[in-house]
Symmetry: C2
Subunit: 356 residues, 2 copies
Amino acid sequence: MKRKTFGPVTSQQVAQIAGVSQSAVSRTFTPGASIAPATREKVLKAARELGYRPNAIARSLNTARSRIVGVVMSYFDNQFYPQVLETLAQKLDELNYHLLLFVGDRDGNVDRIFDQIMQYRVDGIVLASVSLSMELSQECVAAGIPVVLFNRSEESGIVSSVNSDNETAARQIAHFLLAGGHHRFAYVAGIADSSVNQARQKGFTETLHRQGIASVHVVQGNYDAEQTRRAASELFSVSPTPDAVFAANDHMALMVMDVARYEFGLRIPEDVSVIGYDDTGPSGWPSYALTSASQPVEAMVQATVALLMKQIDSGTIEPEQVVVPGQLVVRHSARRPQAGVVEKDGVSLFQLQEVE
Amino acid sequence: MKRKTFGPVTSQQVAQIAGVSQSAVSRTFTPGASIAPATREKVLKAARELGYRPNAIARSLNTARSRIVGVVMSYFDNQFYPQVLETLAQKLDELNYHLLLFVGDRDGNVDRIFDQIMQYRVDGIVLASVSLSMELSQECVAAGIPVVLFNRSEESGIVSSVNSDNETAARQIAHFLLAGGHHRFAYVAGIADSSVNQARQKGFTETLHRQGIASVHVVQGNYDAEQTRRAASELFSVSPTPDAVFAANDHMALMVMDVARYEFGLRIPEDVSVIGYDDTGPSGWPSYALTSASQPVEAMVQATVALLMKQIDSGTIEPEQVVVPGQLVVRHSARRPQAGVVEKDGVSLFQLQEVE
C-alpha cells in the first residue's frame, strides 16, 4: 500500500521540472562530480523554484563533514577585513572548523569561485566584501550549502546576513555633524550598489535633508584608495570646500584626511571634519584619531559563526538577518558638539538624545 | 631470487628503531589516523634519525592530492601579513591550489596545529610569523609534508625558507643614518629569538660599531603595538634622546613615530629620524612617509610558491634557502644624506656606494 506524504521536495521532482535525469540532479549536488554547465544550470533553476534542499543527499554521499568553512574576501588593504579574518579563523578553530580562503576578484568571476567551493566540499560559506555576493550566495544556497553574508545583505532575504546598523549609525553621524555646527556636507561613497553603502548614504543624506540641508556633495571612492584620492581632490577643489565629510569606511576616510592635510593644507578638524565607518586599527592611531562608527568585529563574527553552525547542525537553511549595534566613537578628526558626547570605559561616544 | 637494494629507508626499519609495529609507523604518517601521542613521538624520532621520507606511503594511501596548502600566520594587525596572505592566495589559486588558514597562537601550541594540519591532508605548508616555526616545521618535514618558512629561517637548514636580505638591508640603514649625520642611535627590537630580528639587529649594530659608534640603545618592541608604545616611551624619556631610531618592522616604526610626535612633541625628522622594515601600506601614507627597507611581497610569495610546488611535484624535500633582495625606500621620516639617494620610477632609493 502506497502512502502519500507531504515531505520535502525530492530529487525526482527536481529532475522532472528540469527535464533531466535524476542522476544529473544528484551529480549537480555532489561535490566534484562531473556535470555539464548547461545541465547544472537547469537543475539549479528547478531546485530554486521548488525550494529543493539537497543537504540530505550531499550528507549521505559524503557522511563525514569536511569541517571546512569557505571564506570569500577581498580588500585586504582595508584593515577591517584582516581583523575579521583573524577573528573568524580563531572562532572557527574553537569549534574545530577551519577556514579555506578564497580571494574574491574585485571584478568577480562567480562560476569559478562556485566550482572551487564545490570541489572542496565546504560545510558552509562566509561571503565578505565581494560585489557579486548575491548571485554566488544564491547558487550556494541552491546547492544546499549554508551561506552567511558578512557586512552586506541582499534584498530577496533568502540568504542569511550579519551587518551593523548602517542606516541608524549614518543618521547618528549626520546629527553629530549638525550639532557640531557644520554647514557644507559631503559624502564619499563606496561601490554604488553595495548594500552597506546604500544604507549609509541613505541614513546620512535623508537625515540632513530632513534637517534642512538641501544638498550633499557626493563623490565616489568605491572603497579603493586611489579612487578615493581622486574623489577627495575633487571635493576640496570646489570652492567653498565642504566643512564636514563622511566617508563610507575608515579606509577611505584616512585617505581623505591625508589629501585634505597634505595636498590642500587644510586643518582637521578646524577647516574640515572627517568621519569614517568601521573603527578599525589605524583609526585609533594618534596621527589620525578618526571619529568613526564602530563595527564590532568580535560580535559580528560571533553572530556569523552562530548562524553558520545552526544551519550546518540542523541541515536546514533558514535565512536570518542579524544586525549588531555599534557606536559612534568620538576622537579628534571632527569638531565635537556641545552636548551628547559621553565617556565610557575610557572611550568617548556620541549618544543621540532624541529618537527619530 | 632476492635482489639486494640500496633504496630509501623503509617503514620496517623505522618500526624496528622505534620499537613499535609497522602499522604504528603507517598510522603516524596517515592523515587522520588514530595514534597515541607517545607512539607517534617515538616514530617521528626514529624517522628523523633515519631520514625517513614517508611521502610515498602517504601518496599511495591517498593518491589524490588535496590541493590545499596550509598557511600558519599571526600578527594580522601588521599590514605586511594580510598583503602576503592575499598575494599567496592568488598565486596558489592560479595553480588551482587553495589556502587553509591557521592562525598561530602567539604563545603557540605546536602539537595542536600539527594535528590539524595532518587532519586536513594538506599538500604543503607555509609557516609565517609564528615563533615556534622551528619545532613545527621539523615535525612536518619528518611527516613528509613540504614546508616553507616565510620571513624567518632556522639554523639547521633542514627546512626551506624565503627571506629578504635582512642583514645587508640593516647595514644599509646604518650607513644611511650615519651619512645623514646622526649621533645617538637606538634599535627597537622584535622578538629576541626571531631569526629576522637577529639578522637586522646584527647588521645594524655591527656596522655602527665598526664606524666608531660605541653604544646603541636597544629596547624590546617584540612586534607588538602596546609593547612598542612602552619601549618608545622609555627611549624618549632618556636624556639626551636618540636622534636615529631603527625599528625592526614598520608596524613598530609607525608606533614609534606616533609616540615621538604626540607624547613627546618631537619633530620628525628634525629632532629624530625613524626608519622601519617592510615598506608596507601605511608607510607610504603621507602622515607617516616612513623611510623603510622593502620586503618585496610579490617576489617573496612567488619564491615561496615555487619552492613548495617543486617539493610537491617531485615528492622529495630538498631544503633551499632563498633570499630576495629589497631596497631602502627613502621618504621623509629620516634626514637624508647629501649623497646616495637616487630616483627610480618615481621612488627615492638609497644606494650604498662602498661594498663592505
